[in-house]
Amino acid sequence: MLLNRKHYSKDKIVQLVIKIVPILLFILLWQVVSSNEIINSKLFPPPTEVLDALLFWIKSGVFWVDVNASIWRMLAGFLIGSLLGILAGMLTGRFRKINFTIVPLIQIFRPLPPVAIIPLVIVWLGIYDPAKIFSISFAVFFPVWINAHLGANSIPKNYLRSAGLLTTSKLHIFYAVLFPAALPSVIAGLRTAIPIAFVMVYVSEIAGASAGLGYRISISHLAYRIDIMMAALFVLALAGALTDLLFTFLVRIVFPWIKFL
């Protein structure tokens, strides 16, 4: 038993090393190539400079304002878009009549690149947060909807049949059977939507904002501060990765049975 556990932890360490080594090698290569002027360091500042810029940005106090603004917008847009997507997906996936009437309408909007609606949304809602949250929600809605729809539509018949014989409460069947049965698909949709929400945060902030990670990238471009631009890009990527990690962690905590499906 003890031996097994030792082997297990050794495996874990090896796995961690295998994961970290390529990242370290990448940073090292970047440093060597840039600081030795193999390529223009003005256009491609080394990691040490990017780190300096990041620290400067954090010390200036603006960093948290930017992160706060972007994360708040992302969360609000993601929550609204995904809630509507789940609701619509459950309805279109389970009710034939709703499917026939609503799905053609959704399918007209679905191929539209979400980025393309931003100018129109600015005209309608201005350049402030409501416009950004609307754009993010719009982009998040479609992947969440299609996955929830497919999940709700492909629930094994026997689940619903046994539920229908055991209880007459439609509400009980909805939250105790329909929703959990469709949940793996819903979760897949939400995970797909997380990076999409980050893309939309970035794009909508470029289109006009006074704070945010996208805004920072945009103005550092104008000021020719490529080091800050890279630091902001790094933070944006990190925020996306951490959100995905947090999401999978929360799913495992809230729905411990998910691994059995």
């Binding site: 094994p156 018949k157 026997n158 689940y159 049949r161 046994s162 539920a163 014989l165 055991l166 209880t167 409460s169 009980h172 105790a176 059977v177 959990p180 049965a181 949940l183 729905f255 049975w257 998910i258 059995f260 499906l261």
Partner: protein
Amino acid sequence: MTDTNNYIKTESVSIYYDDICVLRDINFECAQGDFVSIIGMSGSGKSSFLNALAHFIPSHGKITIPSSIGYIFQSHSLFPWMTVKQNIAFGLHDLPVKEKEYRVNELLHRIALVHDKDKYPAQLSGGQIQRVALARTFSTNPEVILADEPYAALDHHTRDKMHEWLLDILRESKKTVIFVTHYIEEAIFLSDRIIIIRDKTFIDDLEMPFSKPRDPIIRYQKVFGYQVCHFNQNGPGIYSRGFLNYCNARPIQKCPGRSLHWIQALSHAFVLN
């Protein structure tokens, strides 16, 4: 058998899937408390008949059946996102908490899974899953139990055990059971009547000459015949030879006049298909 002979009744029931006839003109009656098995080859329409009884699929004709039905499925019988305890409690959500707890615990004891009550179905064996399904089906105390090949995916030993669990739980509650299977031995052991489906209709309706409550020991009285029957299930012909061996192991001479007839009919149902 009780005298209420049309507790479950179908009159000229036909079932179609996209204009293809699966069952034609079925007239069936079942008394309260009866255990009726329906046997037939794969695709003969036995599951469709059960689904029509439960109103899962549309059918032509008239079906009379009590509204309180329990159904045991072969697959997807439990909700994988619920623990054993939650699965059994699913149909009892209207009850006060204490009463629900009491009922669930009683059923958990009944199926001897008290220590596994917090496990998920994926952590259970096939036999344990079907025991939980049995408890869940009985949790709401339905009047009629419909079972669609519930034990077909289990190994012989587990299946035999499941028969004993089922008979045990039925001994007190006296439910009416319609049991679909393609295992002849299973049908004979459990049933009061066996109905044979062939050519889209019920070709025979046979009464079983064994006493009730059924004693599991009868299966082991002539061990050899029983074994031959079990190990020869490789095709319709062998199936019936196994069946005849099984029948030879039973005290046929004590059966009513139809005894020879039911042996022949059951054999023909599979040999001639």
